[in-house]
Symmetry: C2
Subunit: 362 residues, 2 copies
């Protein structure tokens, strides 16, 4: 019988005082005998069972808001591969949607939103019904938690303020970030109001996820790499640090992973100053640099190129092994450098999980 | 009367032995009293005179291949703003086109190509007619050179092999680089054949540009940031270093700028090992890091966020001044961190040029 106690924040084994969930041990700074592994977007279109379940909801937002379906797809990759963590199946767009913005998804085009064009339009957004609108997500968390085995950690998540703001202002994905940056540069006080609203909403959303049962949080700042160094400090580091500070004040034992994708030369400052327990790094960052410059400050997560799960074979094994050899000697969570792609081959994913879970430090 | 001699490679003043073109002085390692300025895509849609000239050609490729029109749009921003350098108006897609690949442009979607799906399809490509197909570009170079004043340097350019290969294999722009990376990872020898073809073609193309009169070269590796650290070494650093080595063997006095956009933590290795005279940096890189880590090895170019030319005003002046204060004490070329966007306001561009050209080190 496993003695872990999945209904406490600390997750500590009540009998022996040790933690059975590898992910929690790594995020608390332990160099585990072998690192935990999970993959960003592990519940996704590369899995036939996901595609089958997806068909049961008319729209992608309906899919996210139907606990029965969201629980099912969250658990699918756990059953198939035995990942060390499940991540709540949802989307970062649920926060603007719950704030009252119109959000929809177009096949192959990603999220579309009725854009918030300036500070005058912030009146269209409101925190009042946030938790009510997001109740299906919390129900999903409870559903996952009740079905998850004692070895598997449950990760909750949200988009970071800059990334969510960029979708809200641009009305969808963008390459140039012209609208959101023009606002941010031209009217920093007005833009700060949007960022502060998102800090408030994201904090509340994540705390409600904790109340429902998540044991770890990840903040996705997917578009940090679109910012200048100054901008990254102002709109990525500062708002994320504020969210982390507020959550830590109430939930000191919940580890928080920050993923400022594309932060490049700013990763070091972010690791030093954000207050996150772990920093996730994208695939451009050399693992040896991560070991030398980040891992002494925080746990690290990453950073296999997702396309290696399309290619498979020797290059997948060699690349994963290089990452393990470089980073598994310190606090480390094996993951990709960005989300898994629909073209990934589930067999390659299985081989990767086997390789990482069979790893033992030399 | 200016004594410079625009028809020699060295560009040295034949009477005094000094160089009147600021760009050439900066690229040879001189900290100029004020840095030279040009902007990537300075001949572009943000200018009404460009949009008017563009209408005279039925397609974008025709536009690039009509010397009269390409000369005209190259010179427009020089006349309007007095930039210190003109850059040949062309497109990086002319090389795959000249190799025999079908290339076309769709409004708002960028370049489209009939994709090269694997090594078996390389037979569709041939160097045989490269210079013949690109003759209009060389004629454009001669036309620009004959009209350019003695203070203004002329920059030629090409896409770097990895970036051009990614368009050739994906059949256009991509976010995930799934096809090109799957090929590169799964069949590195076959993919290397494509890279080597592009090294050969790019070298020949750039040497022919030199013969026609360009005085500086820039290699655009716009998608370097999609690569892992290992991939950046293999498919960005190595092929660019080979092109630079070959060109330097024949034209030691032609400065070469390498722009590995998004290289992040790999910028230092690239600056140290590529053989380029200058490295251009994108807007994510902190200027102080550029000064401390790159500028002692090479001249540097960059890195104002192009969206500041949409926003304008105090934030534009403050941001440009910060870059000048940090980098103008060493060999430096003022530029953007990526190409100017169509939404940029020409008045803001004028203010920026005035600020940089009026700069004097304190």
């Amino acid at each position: 019988m496993n003695q872990s106690s999945p209904n406490t924040d600390s997750g500590l084994d009540m009998v022996t005082g040790t933690e059975s969930k590898l992910l929690l041990r790594a995020l608390r700074g332990e160099a585990c005998a072998r690192p935990p592994i999970w993959l960003m977007r592990q519940a996704g279109r590369y899995l036939p069972e996901y595609r089958a379940t997806r068909k049961k909801a008319p729209s992608f937002l309906d899919f996210c808001y139907t606990p029965e379906l969201a629980v099912e797809v969250t658990l699918q990759p756990i059953r198939r591969f035995g990942f060390d963590a499940a991540i709540l199946f949802s989307d970062i767009m649920v926060v603007p949607h719950a704030l009252g913005q119109k959000v929809w998804f177009e096949e192959g085009r990603g999220p579309r939103l009725d854009p918030v064009a300036g500070p005058g339009e912030l009146v269209r957004l409101s925190m009042c019904s946030l938790d009510e609108n997001l109740a299906p997500v919390y129900e999903t968390v409870r559903g996952i938690r009740s079905e998850l085995g004692p070895e598997t950690a449950l990760i909750g998540f949200a988009g970071a303020p800059w990334t969510v703001a960029s979708y809200m202002v641009e009305g969808g994905g963008t390459r140039e970030f012209a609208k959101v940056k023009t606002w941010a540069y031209g009217d920093p006080e007005g833009f700060q109001k949007l960022i502060e609203l998102l800090v408030d909403a994201t904090t509340q959303y994540l705390e409600s996820q904790i109340a429902a049962g998540v044991e770890v949080l990840q903040l996705f700042d997917s578009w940090a790499g679109a910012l200048t160094a100054n901008g990254m400090r102002q709109w990525c580091l500062d708002p994320n640090a504020e969210i982390i500070r507020r959550i830590k004040a109430n939930h000191p034992h919940i580890p928080i992973i920050l993923f400022p994708r594309g932060a490049g030369l700013m990763y070091r400052d972010i690791a030093a100053e954000s207050g996150a327990d772990a920093v996730a790094v994208d695939s451009t960052v050399p693992p040896a640099w991560v070991r030398d410059e980040l891992q002494s400050q925080v746990a690290v997560q990453g950073n296999l190129d997702p396309i290696l799960l399309v290619a498979g074979g020797e290059v997948l094994r060699r690349s994963a092994t290089e990452i393990l050899e470089t980073l598994a000697g310190g606090p480390f969570v094996f993951n990709l450098g960005s989300g898994i792609v629909p073209e990934a081959d589930p067999e390659h994913v299985g081989e990767l999980v086997e390789l990482v879970q069979g790893w033992s430090a030399r």
